[in-house]
């Protein structure tokens, strides 16, 4: 059985969403980020990314980690792409062309979207969005998103999903990066097709159920 180590208040949402979409049974081992704990080494601290047992599994001390038999993988998007191909059926690429497309969207998400989207998320998360520094950071990130978002907006003209005319792992990878920009609506204001697509992604029962579980986790 596939085992996912991590918590949902992390990039682990990507493989969790994928497995829920695929309807694959899996085991979830909660592992919280050490930096969120006052004393990760305390005797009564919850299992965390600095716990020796977890570091033995992933020396990089980051979540998520996936185990599938003897295979141990890190990197949330690598895990999602692997699981899609291994267990995802139509959620994964079905042809060599689709394989190329899925990879392109995943790497575009990582290289062009995730960084600026996080630069938007963090000021909101840490309550600094209204400070001069926070405002400047958000403005720069919104500007950095303009090129990838214009490219995605054009692609979504006449399409409901990124590839193959159906919901796939590519939608999960990109939607989960763009979610980080959603606290700042102006970042998406000029892109109605993206907003419509994101709403479709986030209306899916598997996403809704995953977010309920995520929001039930302690802050």
């Amino acid at each position: 059985m596939v085992i996912l180590h991590g918590v949902l208040r992390s990039r682990a949402t990507r493989p969790f969403w994928l497995l829920r979409e695929a309807g694959v049974a899996f085991r979830h081992v909660p592992v919280i980020q050490a930096y969120r704990l006052a004393d990760p080494a305390a005797a009564d601290a919850p299992h965390n990314t600095a716990s020796p047992a977890f570091v033995a599994l992933n020396p990089q001390a980051q979540i998520p980690v996936m185990q599938d038999g003897d295979l141990i993988l890190t990197e949330s998007m690598a895990i999602a792409l692997y699981l899609a191909r291994r267990y995802g059926g139509a959620l994964g690429p079905q042809t060599p062309d689709e394989d190329g497309e899925a990879l392109q969207w995943a790497f575009l998400a990582i290289s062009a979207v995730e960084g600026p989207a996080l630069d938007i998320l963090y000021p909101y998360q840490f309550g600094t969005a209204a400070t001069p520094e926070g405002t400047a950071k958000i403005a720069a990130a919104t500007q950095a998103l303009a090129r990838p978002l214009a490219r995605i907006e054009a692609h979504l003209q006449g399409r409901d999903w990124l590839m193959g005319g159906r919901f796939t792992v590519a939608d999960i990878c990109l939607a989960e990066c763009l979610r980080y920009a959603q606290p700042h609506p102006p970042a998406l204001a000029a892109y109605p097709a993206i907003r419509g697509w994101l709403a479709r992604c986030q209306a899916r029962p598997a996403f809704v159920a995953m977010m309920v579980e995520r929001n039930a986790e302690p802050l």
């Binding site: 990089q60 291994r86 990879l103 990582i110 090129r147 490219r151």
Partner: protein
């Protein structure tokens, strides 16, 4: 499309083909070797895939990228039809047009199907893992180091601070690679694969900082093994000639 001149021919490696038998069905790689195009060209050579390369230069390097006599560049409508992001490299293979250098390397590896690509789903997962680690954790700080040197800022206080901060960010992924290489010469499957191409080509951007690999002898030895490969050497010679 644009004219292609001959490039240095190192052994069996041919980096630039003047003609081909069935051009319509042939893979085309768009770019200049003074860009992330290096990784897709090196990968295609290692994989033994026939391809042609269409030279595309950065629009920013031209006084007027939209002039009628401007060479094919990242602002040319003909190139934007291939990659609307206007970035290098890009790939065309039949009806498929994609950007993102790492995605192109992985696509080519799966297409070629030989030992440089994944042989099992588990290997595919491992290759994806190293590729994502390279793209998300290694490349951004490595590029900060590269730019500090390219822009002659490395000796300034500001540049030294940038290099120092980037070097700190690289410690964790470097240590992970160092530990992983304890029992193996290559990242995946005990043999050279596209994962090595992708990781070396992101690490290379950090190599300008002296001593960046000092605490990681196995990583440095692996880096040198990668660069000693004939296909890398041929790619590098062609790059240096551009």
């Amino acid at each position: 499309m644009g004219a292609r001149g001959p490039l240095p021919n190192a052994g069996r490696t041919v980096l630039w083909r003047e003609t081909c038998i069935n051009e319509a069905s042939m893979i085309t790689l768009y770019g200049t070797l003074r860009s992330r195009t290096t990784r897709v060209v090196w990968a295609a050579e290692e994989l033994g895939l026939p391809y042609r390369r269409e030279k595309v230069v950065f629009a920013a390097s031209l006084p007027d990228p939209l002039a009628v006599d401007a060479p094919l560049n990242t602002a040319s409508p003909a190139f934007l039809a291939i990659n609307p992001m206007g970035q290098l490299p890009a790939l065309q293979d039949g009806d498929l047009c994609i950007g993102e250098s790492v995605a192109i390397c992985l696509y080519l590896a799966r297409k070629a199907g030989g030992p440089v690509g994944p042989q099992t789903l588990a290997e595919e997962g491992e290759i994806l893992q190293w590729a994502l680690l390279a793209a998300s954790v290694v490349e951004p700080p490595a590029v900060e180091i590269l730019y500090a040197f390219m822009q002659n800022r490395a000796e300034t206080d500001e540049g030294a601070a940038v290099i120092s901060a980037a070097t700190v960010k690289l410690q964790r992924p470097f240590q992970r690679i160092e530990d992983h290489l304890a029992g193996t010469d290559w990242l995946v499957g005990g043999r050279f694969t596209v994962a090595d191409v992708i990781m070396e080509e992101t690490l290379r951007y950090a190599a300008a900082a002296s001593g960046v690999f000092a605490a990681f002898p196995r990583l440095k030895a692996w880096f040198d093994r990668c660069q000693a490969r004939p296909a890398f050497q041929a790619m590098w010679a062609a790059r240096s000639a551009e």
